[in-house]
């Protein structure tokens, strides 16, 4: 416990609170905060759309390659985020496998746009969602799905109308983790999306740059980021994290 709280306390004690107001009123900070929140939320939504089905496959299907798939899902956890950013370039960059086609056909490039921020954050944060939702699906009672099948529901209907509502708390917990990780994403974002105020400069990027020139200001900025995310997490109440196993 102390191990987690003390560093935070250290930051709080040492933070130059006099810097707080001037920092907060900088237009760039507001912009970065807004962009961070918007892109982390979008990344979470994308992760939900893509990640929940993957989790379903991991938890419910009898595919041979499931453990390979599960290992692949954890790749973005181990890959240094900067390398992750390079990998994204290799696929979606102007010269990338898909990116070139996009560029030549629609004259559209992904890097250096807010879209790129969302993609980078999704790449890094989605595994958290997948792993949490898989856990929730494993814990859920699969017999409800049998019951739905005997009532004429195909796999997709069953998933949408029975499984998903049943594991909603687990999905919510996964989404929280995913959102938190997306909010803190730095390496892949700066590599793949670059850093431009208003379009791609999220809070962690602003913090990192501030560290170069104004370390005290950087600490204040990261505390602001923390405060916002903690406030959000606290608003999601206990019950979102699933039924309690408290033995009373």
């Amino acid at each position: 416990m102390a191990f987690l709280v003390l560093p935070l306390l250290g930051l709080l004690v040492r933070a130059p609170w006099s810097e707080l107001w001037p920092q907060l009123t900088q237009p760039q900070v507001g912009q970065a905060l807004r962009l961070s929140l918007v892109s982390a939320t979008l990344a979470t939504l994308v992760s939900l759309v893509l990640g929940v089905p993957i989790a379903w496959v991991l938890a419910r299907s009898t595919l041979r390659g499931r453990s390979v798939l599960r290992a692949l899902v954890t790749v973005p956890l181990v890959l240094p985020p900067v390398v992750g950013g390079v990998a994204l370039f290799l696929v979606l960059g102007r010269q990338g496998i898909l990116g070139r086609w996009l560029y030549e056909t629609f004259d559209y490039t992904i890097p250096f746009t807010t879209t790129a921020v969302v993609i980078a954050e999704t790449f890094v944060a989605m595994p958290f969602l997948v792993i949490s939702v898989e856990g929730a699906l494993r814990a859920a009672d699969a017999r409800f799905e049998d019951a739905a099948a005997t009532l004429g529901a195909d796999r997709w209907t069953t998933f949408r109308r029975v499984t998903l509502p049943l594991v909603a708390p687990g999905v919510a917990a996964g989404a929280v983790l995913c959102w938190a990780r997306a909010l803190g994403e730095f390496g892949a974002t700066i590599t793949f999306a670059g850093n431009f105020p208003g379009t791609t400069q999220t809070m962690p990027l602003a913090v990192y740059l501030a560290l170069q020139s104004n370390p005290e200001g950087a600490i204040v900025l990261s505390l602001v980021l923390l405060a916002v995310s903690l406030a959000t997490l606290l608003l999601l109440r206990d019950r979102w994290l699933g039924r309690s196993g408290v033995p009373t």
Binding site: F112, F196, S213
Partner: protein, 247 residues
Amino acid sequence: GGSASPDAAGTSSSSGSGGELTGTLTVFAAASLTDVFTGLGDQLMAENPDLDITFNFAGSSALATQITQGAPADVFASANQTQMGVVTGAGLAEGDPTVFTENVLEIAVPPDNPADVTGLSDFADADLTLAVCAPDVPCGAAAEQVFEAAGITAQPDTLEEDVRAALTKVELGEVDAALVYASDVQAAGDQVEGIGFPEAEDAVNEYPICTLAGSQNPGAARAFLDLVESEAGQRALTDAGFRSPTS
């Protein structure tokens, strides 16, 4: 230049006035100096078999933070005056830092220069995809200076957190041009092409070096500083695309 020749070092006695160096030496150096300093360190260790040099390469600001937090460093080589200022401001430098090398900006373009970038004025072209460093980091501050001097309103697409990140994007062909240091263009080999421009002289980046007050091995620290400033050291730096201090 106090460095002895390998032969002399090999034959003189350990307590001799020739000053064979012993113990460990810890050098904190900016990441862009990795190759040059590793080479120089190997040379000094070859001359002094009982000397052990360890390097800590990282961003200058991380190094400055570590030094002010009491890191056991003997030498600090910063990629800019600002971070050196953090260390001297905390009273941790021994004597005044000296500038041992300089770096000037160059335009880096992908091989064959697909966007036909010719000079600094192309950075005002909003249609090109361009990378410059963020103003918070030295190469960004320098970029601001050259644009001001040239009277150009730059239209970058991204403000990179360091030169390396900008260069990666050039290497991958994801930007048409980036404003980076000449040494970085050199290090990237044939992955990028460099284009020099006259306004670069308005924003020369200076690399200061100093020994640190808390050093446990001041003799070796001094010797390393001398080696860097020696002819051999300067040659290694020049080969890597840096240039000798002009003043």
